[in-house]
């Protein structure tokens, strides 16, 4: 088990190291977050709608669209350099390769999510009066479910001639539970509703994340093998 986790971390570390040196995905996602915040600001008529009332929806949409931007390129480097065959020939289990990619993407997306909250908090003058720890739990579970699915389908998209354009068609229909439970929980926590009101959402987000992480890890070999 320990050895398995070491292999998972080796893959995640490699991806994070490449990202740390190139800043490719983080730069794109970071710029997207700030720019979409600006566009959202000008797209809302504040005389009719209070931005605070729809902040949770805007935040989750930004996480998903920004995340797709970065996660869609998860296997690009391996694809371009034909390095995937090398990784597949190495003695690493295929599920560990997938889980490593998920861990790397989760850390990467966590940085982006932190930026989303800072930017939207500043742009829309958001006041948070709920439990911060519960909010972290909601966002972490939602992001984990999102990452596990998008990483999986990103590998599928690299195998397809449609490439990244296939990703939204495959991922968006499956993401509805994350959007429903993530947004409603975030909304309630923003206005300081009790934690008991979002405990159901937390359970559903956890179930979603576990279900798709396990299923995708098991099915990954059918996607990645030539």
């Amino acid at each position: 088990m320990r050895n398995y986790l070491r292999l998972v971390w080796a893959i995640a570390r490699k991806d994070l190291l490449v990202e740390f040196r190139t800043h490719e995905r983080l730069t794109a996602m970071g710029a997207f977050v700030v720019l979409i915040g600006i566009l959202f600001n000008f797209s809302i008529d504040s005389a009719l709608v209070r931005p605070q009332d729809i902040a949770a929806a805007l935040i989750w949409m930004t996480i998903i669209f920004g995340g797709m931007l970065g996660l869609g390129r998860t296997f690009r480097l391996e694809q371009e350099d034909a390095a995937l065959s090398g990784i597949l020939q190495s003695p690493i289990p295929i599920a560990a390769l997938y889980l490593g990619k998920v861990v790397g993407n989760f850390i990467l997306l966590s940085v982006m999510v932190a930026l989303v909250f800072v930017v939207f908090g500043a742009f829309f003058s958001l006041r948070f009066s709920g439990s911060p720890l519960t909010l972290v739990g909601v966002v972490a579970l939602g992001v984990l479910g999102f990452v596990s699915l998008t990483t999986f389908f990103s590998a599928m998209a690299t195998r397809s001639s449609m490439g990244e354009s296939l990703l939204p068609v495959l991922v968006f229909p499956l993401l509805v539970p994350v959007v429903v439970y993530g947004t409603t929980a975030t909304d309630r926590l923003f206005i300081g509703r009790p934690i008991a009101e979002v405990s159901g959402n937390l359970r559903m987000l956890a179930a979603f994340a576990i279900l798709f992480t396990v299923a995708c890890a098991w099915l990954f070999r059918f996607v990645i093998e030539e």
Binding site: R159, L166, V169, L170, L174, V180, M204, L211, F222, V223
Partner: protein, 238 residues
Amino acid sequence: MSQKQIRWAVGVLGALGVATVIVLHWMVFFWVPTESTMGVVQRIFYIHVPAWWIAFLGFGLVALCSAVYLWLGDERLDRAAVAGAEAGMIFTTIGLLTGPLWGRVAWGTWWEWEPRLTLALLLWFIYLGYFLVRRSTANPEQGKRLAAVVGVIGVLDIPLIHVSVTWLRSLHPEAVILSASNPMNLDPSMGATIGVGLLAFTLVFASLFLARYAVATYEHELDLRDATPAGTQGAEAG
């Protein structure tokens, strides 16, 4: 089952299916009494409800055949999965078109973001992904494998449909026919019409399924013929 037998079954099931669909329409328009609460518009249920049952049957087949295909790699299972997906998608489309027609009168709107309706629409898109993935790879074998994976992941969404129905407030009419508290509490003539609808759509589905399966088999044989060098074919013929 040989190709000749399949063609024969397609013809018989198709003819029976069309005949039963005609009988169903006669029953819907002239025989079954009008429901007291919803009025005439309720008659669309005799098409809508069987369409959804068959749609889910089709997608169940896709999931089952896809999972076993990934496990055993038997080509026939892939053909059955794609046949189930195409036929299932036709009935999902019928369900999605007849639902809003009823909703326009009953709810006063063409579309309502009601959980079952929404996730049914999403299911349609999941299987659109199934077909896109299948056709977008250079290697057809890989396309089949990826589509099977989408089929399996897609069906995992069905329990989430159920859970979201429980959690979110639903505008969708409660299930009457399979209601646990009051099973089969329909007027006998309504039950008979639903039964004929179910039979009609099952026959049409079976015919479409077998027809598509036969086409997939022919495609496979053509692929094999194309892949075989001409000299080998001549030697085999000789």
